[in-house]
């Protein structure tokens, strides 16, 4: 860069190239293995020249794991989570930044704390809530004596029940219920000049008008970054869909991969397994390649 360092430059290229090979090799091996037949894929060592059965294997993997509907489910869920995050975080950040009301700091901290505990560590009770999403409210009514009161007055027993297992809302809502995104918007809203707000108010715009017509169009970049990162995050979820979707019609592409692992004792059909892996890893890879700028930006902005 600044000076001539031929030996160091050579080493730099060498190390970076080795890193590059290690980074790309798994992708290449998956793609090559997906093109072999049963015998070639189990050859030791496996030939690195592509075989001729690529499309046959893709087709077999597609039908074995029934990937068509599963990919559609993954898309619905990932879009749902991304859209939910982009909208709800914007609303909350607007409320926290642009209003002064009692308990504002409390709300800020309530939301902030959710950053600390990811879904995976509170998986068991969250599952119970999703099995009957009104259970918290039932419990509150029982505790406050409200349900007793209603039973006395109307003779009806209150039992609220709404199960979200095997539904898109059950998959999506718990993943939306964290604070990532809220702080991304908050940081951005704080940089929007006060003069803009003053001018808007002078022209008679209310809070809603200012939010929709001025603030949201200004946040387009943030929305793209947050949407990209949340789409990938949701697409790659595994534990949560595995628990919530016991019914095949709501299963995700990523959770279906398990069915492609060759059984012990069965034929080692690695070519089919790798074809399935390729199909499942391709959509997020395409998103990363095409949306690289938003991806990097979103990642850095949401985490800090």
């Amino acid at each position: 860069m600044v000076e001539r360092t031929p030996i160091l430059n050579f080493l730099t290229h060498l190390i970076l190239f080795v890193g590059f090979v290690f980074c790309v090799a798994p992708f290449a091996i998956v793609a090559i293995a997906a093109s072999h037949n049963l015998k070639d894929v189990n050859d030791v060592p496996m030939s690195l020249l592509p075989g001729s059965d690529f499309w046959v294997n893709i087709k077999t993997a597609w039908t074995t794991a029934d990937l068509g509907p599963k990919l559609l489910n993954s898309f619905i869920m990932a879009f749902g989570v991304a859209a939910g995050k982009v909208i709800i975080s914007a609303l909350t950040a607007f409320s926290i930044v642009y209003f002064r009301y009692p308990g504002r700091m409390l709300i800020f901290w309530l939301i902030f704390i959710t950053l600390m505990l990811p879904l995976e560590v509170r998986i068991v009770p969250t599952y119970a809530v999703v099995a009957n999403v009104l259970e918290p409210y039932q419990a509150i009514m029982d505790l406050t004596g409200l349900s007793w009161l209603i039973e006395k007055l109307s003779g009806m027993q209150v039992s609220l029940s709404l199960g979200l297992l095997n539904s898109y809302s059950g998959l999506i809502l718990p993943l939306v219920a964290t604070a990532t995104g809220t702080f991304l918007y908050r940081q951005f809203f704080l940089t929007v000049p006060d003069e803009l707000t003053e001018a808007a108010r002078m022209d008679g715009a209310g809070a809603m008008r200012f939010f929709v017509d001025i603030l949201l169009p200004l946040s387009r970049n943030n929305m793209a970054a947050l949407g990209t990162i949340m789409f990938l995050w949701a697409w790659n979820q595994y534990l949560w869909p595995l628990l919530i979707t016991t019914d095949q019609s709501h299963a995700m592409a990523v959770t279906e991969l398990k069915q492609l692992i060759p059984n012990v004792g069965g034929a080692p059909e690695w070519h089919i397994a790798m074809a399935g892996t390729l199909i499942v890893m391709l959509p997020p890879l395409i998103v990363v390649v095409l949306m690289q700028r938003w991806f990097v930006r979103g990642l850095i902005a949401t985490e800090k």
Partner: protein, 294 residues
């Protein structure tokens, strides 16, 4: 930081926050509270009420050798994979930041692994590291029986570490490169003018300036190694052989949903939550104070 200009009507203001508040109450605070309640009671999985047992659940899991085995496996996994993923990413990012010819290629490609779902890359690595096919089979042909993640616990641990580190090298690379690029070029040029070489500049200027990123990534990598490892473990080893890769989240899942021991699983969740909260506090309290800021 506060806004000088705000909107009056604060009832509307609260309404904007309501959707998120309902969501986090229902899916975050209630379940978290529920976990505390369950961990202190004995819950029958098929209904029938809870019996208050105090700290018995904690006592029983803490006296269980399987649980300690799971904690130590998680710590080994967290330590080695964080170390590998961070040091490799640091080297690659520092070298990419030298901006020699072709460095754009690395900037683009080295972040790909982070986009891949953990179970998908786990299946890929299960094939690559399979003892009878794939690439480790070559090693087994030369020295029969050297490598078998299905039978040997440390081979299985090594496999999940490789798979996890591969993904998180991509993640760490993004953050390290961003941190290196935020260092003003003029600073480096001035140091070069004063006669310091590439290595000297790295240790005396770049490294101290990116310490906040290093500590930030340290905490993130450790917490991610607790959560994001689930898919890798489930696809590659299912916690085996002989519990060698039965990491904490995997054990919570198998105890709670396969073994239907909700109370035990809740107690384990509480311990894991405390561990992660402690890590976050360490990050905020101690580390932020000691590192250099620009």
């Amino acid at each position: 930081m506060e806004k000088r200009v705000t909107f009056g009507r604060w009832t509307i203001g609260i309404l904007f926050a309501v959707p998120q508040l309902i969501l986090i109450f229902t899916f975050f605070y209630w379940p978290a509270g529920q976990a505390v309640y369950w961990s202190l009671t004995l819950q029958q999985p098929w209904g029938g009420g809870n019996i208050w047992v105090g700290l018995d659940n904690f006592r029983s899991i803490l006296s269980n050798a399987d649980y300690w085995n799971s904690i130590s496996a998680s710590l080994v996994f967290a330590g080695i994979s964080t170390g590998l993923a961070m040091s490799i990413a640091l080297v690659l990012a520092a070298l990419t930041d030298r901006q020699l010819a072709g460095s754009w290629l690395y900037r683009v490609v080295l972040i790909w692994p982070y986009g891949i779902a953990a179970p998908a890359l786990a299946l890929a690595f299960r094939f690559i590291l399979a003892p009878e096919a794939g690439f480790m089979a070559v090693v087994n042909q030369v020295w029969p029986g050297v490598w078998d993640p299905g039978l040997d616990g440390s081979d299985a641990m090594a496999s999940i570490i490789v798979a996890f580190s591969w993904k998180y090298v991509g993640y760490n690379f993004i953050f390290f490169l961003a941190a290196f690029q935020a260092i003003p070029r003029s600073l480096i040029e001035a140091a070069a003018m004063d006669g310091s070489g590439v290595i000297r500049r790295f240790w005396d200027i770049q490294f101290p300036l990116i310490t906040p990123t290093i500590f930030f990534l340290l905490v993130i990598n450790i917490t991610e190694s607790f959560q994001d490892s689930f898919g890798i473990v489930d696809i590659m080893t299912s916690g085996g052989p002989a519990n060698a890769t039965n990491l904490m989240v995997y054990k919570i899942y198998s105890d709670g949903f396969k073994g239907l021991d909700y109370s035990g699983a809740a107690a384990q969740s509480i311990i894991l939550m405390l561990l992660i909260i402690a890590l976050t506090i360490v990050q905020f309290r101690f580390i932020e104070r000691r590192v250099h800021y620009r």
